[in-house]
Symmetry: C2
């Protein structure tokens, strides 16, 4: 049984998320998704959608066998308990696979790291573009 | 085989949508979802997310066996071709079930109409509240 683990914030769900998760799922027999905690999103704006709600939506997707919230204190803790055979990275996730390998190895893990390069070129295929569209529609107008 | 049909816009997907679709699916053996066309959303603000993208997300949900875009010219056309045994209405969908029955009957259809009363009391369980949160976070700030 090949367990694949994917990770991400999954704020304002869009087809880019779906593509990443479907491609991840296709690499193994089971896909577990670690959803980032609100507290730990520091490299981009805080999520609009709270973590419990992001978890509920990711759990509802066909591609996802199980979704869990990550640890607030150690981002590797959840990966350690899941013991994945494969970890996938999205095309825009800025982890260095080599550094990731080192950190995982310190914890006794040696999963394959696979970058999912595919992305979905569509009008609103990023959380940022959804926010931008809402702001441009309602700027200076009553809501 | 009991075919259930649910309908909606499904803009900015949230747990209220998931609950409506899961409850709908539980009433039969197959759930087909008719996703409203951009052109036909007139009783509330135009969707933020374009119809093809809303269709993609709804199709990716576990509860959904098939999702299709509705007709742009006759909202009953798709229902007529799907011949549902049950049509579900969300708690906030303002169709009058009696009037709906009359319109369906004119087209030779007599499905059961079931109102899904349940809703999800959560911070961002409406597309409107997601838009409001984005506007309040970024009003007067650079994005």
């Amino acid at each position: 049984m090949t367990r694949v683990v994917a990770t991400g914030t999954f704020d304002l769900l869009h087809p880019g998320h779906i593509l990443y998760l479907e491609r991840s799922r296709a690499l193994g027999d089971e896909l577990v998704v670690i959803v980032a905690r609100d507290l730990n999103v520091k490299h981009k704006p805080k999520p609009i959608v709270p973590e419990q709600q992001r978890l509920q939506l990711v759990s509802a997707l066909k591609a996802v066998d199980l979704a869990v919230l990550g640890s607030e204190t150690d981002i590797f803790e959840t990966i350690q308990s899941l013991k994945p055979d494969i970890i996938t990275l999205g095309y825009d996730q800025h982890f260095d696979p080599a550094l990731l390998k080192v950190e995982l190895s310190k914890r006794g893990l040696d999963p394959k790291i696979v970058r999912i390069e595919a992305n979905e070129p569509c009008e609103l295929c990023s959380s940022r573009s959804i926010v931008a569209k809402i702001l441009s529609r309602y700027r200076g107008r009553r809501f």
